[in-house]
């Protein structure tokens, strides 16, 4: 599906890139981490049709594939975009695959055992358990305070009640469709964040001076950054490849060919990109 969408994907990527360059700032990121919902930014991504981008046209979406999504999510990661767009896109895709027409607005993605990012802010919640997908009105749910596993955005635990609709994803999506979609979107965002981290680190190495010269002039630093560049490239390729496999062979076919952040010899890229481990550089992403 995605292979025919090259042009559309290109246009979309440009739009997302431009939007986030203009709107995604350290201040906004800090505000969201204090729990403020980035309403204006969300309105703009909705205006671009992004939340329903993965939904077939027959169900009111754009009909993009996972490979396209990976490319978009990589841009989100590069900008540390402070909004649950990737999750909402995946939730809509899972609903549509289960035969449920996805509603407009933010759909939070509830996966077993994890707090749901921006759950209280959502119009709806899509809960995925094994191959079963249920749609809930967020207002009908009771929420318990939770904590996001890796992000710092607000995340709460939903107590699911009787759903508005219930369906199953096709067998090719596998028994862990929700987790796979979640893994795919995190992989793509991490790959994007790593690109930004590499850029920032290289810039820093060119400007930070010690012993009278930029530290990037020291061969020891150059060699580490070269390794880092190889890992960053590999992460991007691994994520893109997983997206393509998901399109061609179903989500369950998206073997995650490379463990992100894990080099071949078992040394992690986190160690290698030591100037800015991805988890620690969200704020710097906006400098």
């Amino acid at each position: 599906m995605s292979d025919t969408n090259e042009d559309l994907r290109g246009i979309l990527l440009e739009q997302v890139e431009r939007l986030l360059t203009d709107r995604s700032s350290p201040n906004l990121l800090r505000a969201t981490e204090r729990g403020e919902w980035p309403a204006a930014l969300w309105a703009e991504v909705e205006a671009l049709g992004l939340p329903l981008a993965l939904v077939p046209e027959a169900m009111g979406g754009v009909g993009l594939g996972w490979a396209d999504a990976v490319a978009v999510w990589q841009v989100l990661g590069r900008h540390a975009a402070p909004l649950p767009l990737a999750e909402s896109m995946a939730a809509a895709a899972l609903l549509a695959a289960a035969g449920i027409t996805p509603p407009a607005g933010l759909i939070a993605l509830a996966l077993p055992g994890e707090a749901t990012a921006w759950g209280r802010q959502a119009g709806h919640v899509a809960a995925v358990q094994g191959g079963e997908v249920t749609l809930h009105a967020a207002a009908d749910l009771t929420w318990q305070p939770g904590r996001s596993l890796i992000g710092r955005e607000p995340a709460d635990q939903a107590m699911l009640g009787e759903p508005l609709a219930r369906g199953r994803v096709p067998a090719g999506w596998g028994a862990d469709a929700g987790l796979l979609a979640g893994a795919l979107l995190q992989a793509a965002k991490i790959a994007g964040a790593l690109e930004a981290a590499l850029d920032m680190t290289v810039d820093y190495a060119k400007t930070r001076k010690q012993f009278g010269r930029p530290i990037g002039g020291f061969q020891a630093v150059q060699q580490q950054l070269a390794v880092c560049a190889a890992e960053v490239a590999a992460c991007g390729v691994a994520a893109a490849q997983a997206g393509r496999a998901a399109d061609r062979r179903g989500l369950a076919g998206a073997e995650f060919r490379d463990r992100l952040g894990q080099g071949g010899g078992g040394r992690g890229s986190r160690d290698r990109c030591r100037h800015h481990p991805p988890g620690a550089c969200r704020h710097r992403l906006h400098r």
Partner: protein
Amino acid sequence: MAGLRFDLRDTPEGAPALRAELRAFLAEAGKDWSPRVRAYSWMGFDRDFSREVGKRGWIGMTWPKAYGGQERTALERYVTLEEMLAVGAPVGAHWIGDRQSGPLILRLGTEEQRREFLPRIARGALAFAIGLSEPDSGSDLASLRTRAEKVPGGWRINGRKVWTTNAHLCDFMIALLRTSPITDPRQKHQGLSQFLVDCRLSGITIRPILDLVGEEGFNEITFDDVFVPDSMLVGQEGAGWEQATAELAFERSGPERYLSSLPLLTAALDDLRAEPAAPEAVGRLLARAGTLRQMSLAVAGMLQEGKTPAREAALVKDAGNDYEQALPERLREFFDPGRTPPEVQEMQGYMTMVARSYSLRGGTREILRGIIARQLGLR
């Protein structure tokens, strides 16, 4: 973005059919290859095998038919290389000619050189060596001193090359030689030229060098007033450095830069089933191979489009070398002397020793990372 981009490629339409042909051929040709033979991978040298490969049109696949090629795509060639490497076929007698010497002659050679050399390479009948490194010039290749002096009708060569893989078995080498003396060390890249040199010319002495494994795979070559005619100059006199660096994009970009030790994984699979912890490790190794493959394929695609992805090639080689170097050691943890078949252990032992060389041959790890750092704008 400071880093490098690698766009996903697909192997070509006809790939499955080509693969099937190759597999059928390799199953038959390789039925007696022991794991130890497979462990040599592209360092293995077997003229009979290369001639059989040539007969089937799998050498010089992308070259024009007029020169013995098949006019197939670079990605079809890539599929062929993958299949050969996956089973550890002894491709050494045609590998260098197919990978770099042939393409160099095709690009920059005279019409006469093309007609003389390319069809024989494509038949698997002409083996090439790489004459770059010298005793005092390795990473700093441009400092090389073996010289070719102009004499009537040709050139007279004096000096020494070293580490020349399989030179004692090869017919020709492409040698990078100094044709004008270094007057200013900052200009050492100038005054170099490439020559086709027949390894059996009078004045050439090839002495084997014993390696760590106890074998004589590479050599020291002494040139003592060796005469080569004018017709053996490749490309332009004095442009040898640019020509040789473009050649490196071919030398460094192929799947052999991450697949050298893969045959060990294949050979060990059955044995590894007995180890409960092995599947996860094997899964990771295969996953990483999948990613490296996409990156390597991306470089092949760029070459096909006529680009010179020298930096991308350096990056894939560096990441690939790390991988192929780590693989034997990673698998060793799961081997059990009492259970693992002796021939698999032998293969593992050999690879553990030669794996050190993966990150030296074709440019050292440090030099490749320097090239990537240049891409990042740090040098």
